[in-house]
Symmetry: D2
Subunit: 334 residues, 4 copies
């Protein structure tokens, strides 16, 4: 038996973790992609809990960076960045529920070189930016276009080949009344750029209004901790997710489950605030679903909690805090 | 001659700083107040540059905290907080222009006690919050209702009377495609909670889309630097502003002009990032409109720049950086 | 009667605020200046509470930047920066006491041009630094040497003259067992770069070990809020202070009193942490010495607290939080 | 052949990575332990490059927390915390050199229960502290004493057993003229609380003055990322290190090498500043010792850099940034 059959998704999901109908969210079906997470766009799909969606995602630049001689400052136009598929309306979802998204598969889409990374002016973790506003001159722009395949990974240079380790950079639900740039991560998910949001994992997202309105996009072929220059190995994909619904499970921030661990995800600035959110959520989760005393959970995480830095470049930084399943065991039933 | 007649507003405004028609934006005319700054609401007014608007603003709680025995956690419902008048469509305004708003008058509105301040659970500058997420228990809730008049100020206690020093806590234009909570300050203005946005001043705001879509609300009877507990002396008002338009003046962040100084306003986290934004904008402004070398401006501000802390409690902190008119002189014409 | 005669210094000081003997702390008497605040150096003076010291201070560069063609990177050698007079041993001072230093006078010393400001590589509030470590190239070095007199102020340029508004940039007591760079501000004072530490004010400093071991130096002819580029208008001075002792007044951070206000001073990173320290200390001071309920003080400061940004460039940022004497009245006697 | 034989230590060390004489740094030989990293204490040992030291370290509380009913606030006295062995004078070490410390072994010392963790008032990552100063009431104090052995690990509770994963919490060299609390991490090492400083690793430390003056202590039996409550599983140990010297290798911050990766270590506040330092040092290291173009290294780390959060509780936060040996290959010779 796979761990998945005993996951929170399987035990609490309306569809019990069983896949329903499959929907092809092609470019044609999507039509216009979206640049905000909000309730003001028409759903492109309406699905039942358990349904599977195969989305044709664009890369974060909507394919506009075509060669290594393109200049990002010339071909990109803020705020029309990081195009998202969706919104997907999930029947039965109401504010206070939780969306459980099982990521089943991600694979590159389109002609090679399919991968893009680059230096963008005044953006990135080791440069002055619009948010950390300084007088230093910016770095020069630079683009790399790379071959990416599932089998051979990423050929970075003659000497260096990197594995294909894809994940969804941006995924989340609509805020209740806000419409927020797809460049931002927050309590509803969004541009978390957290490599754990990968095939095999289940991500749990708060539902803030009827239908949940799921968005996703911005898949990365591989990314280091922090997404240092701000641009991972961006690529268009076929991304397959199974979307289930957990009624009356109200979570404040995204959570994630894998065979190995349970994780809570926080986004904020400064970075310690993202870490505090993630760890406080984990303490509270251990208290509610494993019956820990809060202070005992705090002491235990001091000894064995793990932190993953998702991004240190977006409008809010994202960190995941986790505890191993082998230490904490299974959450109690509901 | 008043300084105003030689202000940037007067010299560059489409209406030359001269008042046009006056519009009464009453509660009835406003109808539903708004909780986001965005382009998805219908304008409640369409005005010409130079027109004057007298707005009936609500307090930040829309009047729901009626007595000192009310509990904020029971009567307030997130995200329906900080109700805003608007949006006001300004004819001729296009992306890349600048809105110039001269604040002419603010006075209390409605039955006494008209002023409200309070401690709200997990909100404020000296407590653990949702953003600075800790395990400490929250402070108890507490409400103070206070008489506020223009003439007598604020009777805080038997021993302490504070002056009436009103200003607009939240004012700004719509983002291009985002709709952002009225609790947030950012490049378009919003919930800056900066006491310099007061009668007599002119605030300059970036226009991000056609018509600018001006919102305002959240007037404070008085506020200290930082708005420490997060709730200034909130009160409903009649607020009078004259709204002019400066074509083709593209500014990245709000600016402000008074008889005494020129100010740039930055919002961000951590607080030093707000300060950096404000000061970098001031350096750039001095370079473009007073012909300073950037490094010379940087050195001069080191000796005589002033910083005002607006808020240290909102989703982004707001600071203003300024230089005295007596030091820098008048900006060059355009 | 001057406010000083009713100050905390006068009411609580061992010498009752009355001046004692005057000591000339000349360059010769000082001998080697110091670059750390610590207990490992021999006192250069031993004084009684109430004694007055006239110190010949160096500028922050110990006079090594002699002309506008000097390059800071060539003439300065870290960590031998920001030379301090002292330590001064105050008889009777023990851990848990408080040193009260009344700043009586500061005036320029030595041949003109006596003032120096400059851009130092990878140092300052609007550039990448060793602490905010980025890949951007540094700004070019730049030095300005300026005439500074009490009467005529600072001739910045043909168009701009700035007033002479001197203060002590660095002043404090020794930590108990640490010896910390004179570039750092912290709970014991140090490099606060706060313009309120000016003639007329009384600064209160925690005593951490026998004799207090007072250090001071780094006087500025004028400085803006934040000391933006990191180098105020540095100048050597004759600085006159009267040093009194308050027994058994244990304060956690420096405090300051003027005719107009009471201030608490915090230093930390990020900047909001400095603000929190300063404001929490002020809340606690209002609770202990004015009998405020802590939450009432918190609410009142929300309406009328003031914040001064000292520096946003040193290893810790420094902010002062204050409340007007006219609002809060006199502290209770002890 | 072990990776160690081809390590930087082996290739560049004065002793070529070969162990010399072994010194027992017993409690008796140590005498007084130290609470600052500085040059003002007499060396307890003088050694040759290559020599091995077996140190009897105390736990961070010097054994004063003896039972679960002890209250930290009663038995601990700031600043006499985190006692350190040393200083150890390394012959031939001069400013600008690098100390290479190979950690060979750590094992528990003394009677069981040998491990201690606890909640300390106003200290920790999820509570208000002296640095993040708030008005919330502190958590209650709480102590856990635990059996710790190499073979059986840590028996946390009936259900939970944790592995023994020891490392050195605090290790570093003396600053040139400062003496800094052993609670602080910085460019010279100190209280980094980074779990990678573990048996098998080589840590490289800047030498700031003659003899280097190595200190170490504060070994942890296990610790999660961030050392969440501020107190890992503290325990007294026998810790064995081999200390070699690399002449004329001037590094700005600590570095670390294992069989699997190369790491740079940064400490600062806010947390992003620690991350920036660590990553910038790694970019610079890749440029100097692997001949990467700096911008190419920046892009590559974006795809495959790893971040380890050491502590989010100390006066500065510590993060390590690393790249796998399998990706980057061996550094060039010198």
């Amino acid at each position: 038996m796979s761990w998945l059959e005993n996951s929170i998704l399987a035990r609490m999901g309306v569809a019990g973790g069983r896949p329903g109908r499959t929907h092809a969210l092609t470019e044609a079906r999507q039509g216009r992609y979206h640049y905000v997470y909000g309730p003001y766009a028409e759903p492109v799909l309406t699905i039942e809990p358990g349904d599977v969606v195969v989305a044709e995602t664009h890369d974060a630049f909507e394919g506009k960076i075509r060669s290594e001689t393109d200049r990002p400052s010339e071909v990109l136009r803020f705020p029309y960045l990081n195009p998202q598929n969706g919104p997907i309306f999930v029947k039965g979802a109401e504010k206070g529920d939780c969306l459980a998204v099982h990521i089943k598969d991600i694979r590159p889409r389109g002609p090679q070189p399919v991968g893009t990374t680059c230096l963008i002016t005044e953006f990135g973790g080791l440069v002055a930016t619009g948010a950390t506003a300084l007088l230093n001159k910016p770095l020069p722009e630079k683009v790399k276009k790379l071959h990416v395949t599932v089998e051979e990974g990423v050929k970075w240079s003659d000497k260096i080949t990197l594995p294909y380790e894809p994940f969804i950079g941006t995924i989340g639900t609509s805020p209740e009344i806000e419409a927020i740039s797809s460049l931002v991560p927050d309590y509803y998910g969004g541009n978390m750029d957290l490599p754990d949001v990968a095939p095999g994992a289940v991500i749990y997202l708060p539902v803030n209004r009827e239908g949940a309105l799921l968005y996703l996009g911005d898949c990365h072929a591989i990314q280091g901790d922090g997404e240092l220059c701000g641009v991972a190995l961006e690529h268009p994909t076929h991304t397959t997710v199974q979307v289930d619904l957990i009624k009356d499970w109200t979570i404040a921030w995204p959570r994630l489950e894998t065979e190995a661990f349970f994780m809570t995800i926080g986004s904020g600035r400064p970075m310690e605030d993202a870490a505090r959110i993630a760890y406080r959520e984990l303490v509270r989760w251990m208290a509610s679903d494993w019956d820990f005393d809060e202070h005992e959970a705090y002491l235990l995480l001091t000894q064995c909690g793990k932190v993953r830095v998702g991004n240190m470049v977006d409008p809010k930084y994202t960190l995941g805090a986790s505890i191993k399943r082998s230490i904490v065991g299974e959450p109690k039933g509901r």
